[in-house]
């Protein structure tokens, strides 16, 4: 395998594990963790393509990854805030018990 393919396979593995966490776990915080893992796998893809692509001096992939990290941080803050607000009402973070959206 080429070096690029090695990094892409690692990113695919992390993405699949994040997807498995988001689809199978019952705790809302763990589902957010799975989404973070998927975002990180996408970032690894961007950086790998930037490194082995034809024009690394243009910095395009690096900038995309940088903005993606910033958006992921905002997503984590809002998501965890929502989980905490839901927990205050219903005393649970179990997704199977989250059956209504009205407060």
């Amino acid at each position: 395998m080429t070096p690029l393919a090695e990094f892409l396979v690692v990113a695919a593995l992390v993405f699949a594990i994040g997807l498995a966490i988001a689809l199978t776990r019952r705790n809302a915080i763990l589902v957010l963790i799975g989404i973070e893992l998927m975002l990180n796998a996408a970032n690894l893809n961007l950086i790998a393509f930037w490194r082995f692509g034809p024009h690394p001096e243009a910095l395009t992939g690096m900038m995309f990854a940088l903005f993606s990290i910033a958006v992921a941080a905002a997503e984590a803050a809002v998501g965890l805030g929502l989980v905490i607000a839901y927990h205050r009402h219903t005393k649970t973070t179990d997704l199977d018990a989250m059956t209504r959206m009205r407060g």
């Binding site: 080429t2 992390v14 498995a20 940088l66 905002a74 965890l80």
Partner: protein
């Protein structure tokens, strides 16, 4: 070199994937958050191996410094009154696992099939100065939009997580 992989890459890849697997399999939520931190550190090391020093250190600062701490805080804040003993996996866990495995198989197949045999280039020399120049010249509009997005998201997160009685009394106060 082991099986054609460099030892450094193999070590960091194994640490990264093992941390993600531990986050998927462990029962204790705090242990999950700590193994997530290991995965973030492994990804930062992979970025450093790829020659993206700035992104690697930004990953350490943002993910290990902020997101992991936020996750641990959320776990500890929401743990108190809940039932400590419960099933960790949803009722449809089998389908989720099948979907995840199929996704990985598809991605790995596409990667192995579609890439050319040799694609080796020299490590690009990127200084922090060139990143700053790019951010301030051609990427200045996305940078400002991200700044606005972060402000809005963090204020929104604080308002969402604020106790409701306090928020409504402050809203109703001056009226």
């Amino acid at each position: 070199m082991i099986f054609g992989f460099s030892i450094l890459f193999l070590l960091t890849a194994v640490v990264t994937v093992a941390g993600a697997l531990a986050a998927a399999l462990l029962k204790n939520l705090v242990h999950c958050a700590l193994s997530l931190t290991v995965t973030f550190a492994g990804l930062a090391l992979l970025y450093l191996e790829l020659g993206a020093q700035f992104i690697g250190f930004a990953q350490i600062l943002v993910y290990i410094g902020a997101v992991a701490i936020l996750v641990v805080f959320a776990i500890l804040l929401t743990r108190g009154a809940g039932v400590p003993e419960y099933r960790g996996y949803s009722s449809s866990w089998f389908f989720g696992l099948v979907i995840a495995a199929a996704t990985f198989a598809l991605l790995a197949w596409a990667v192995v099939k579609s890439l050319p045999a040799s694609l080796v280039s020299a490590t690009p020399a990127v200084s922090v100065q060139s990143i700053g120049t790019a951010l301030m010249s051609s990427y200045v509009l996305p940078l400002e939009i991200v700044a606005v997005l972060l402000t809005v998201a963090l204020i929104g997160a604080v308002i969402v997580a604020m106790p409701e009685g306090k928020a409504s009394s402050e809203k109703g106060g001056p009226q």
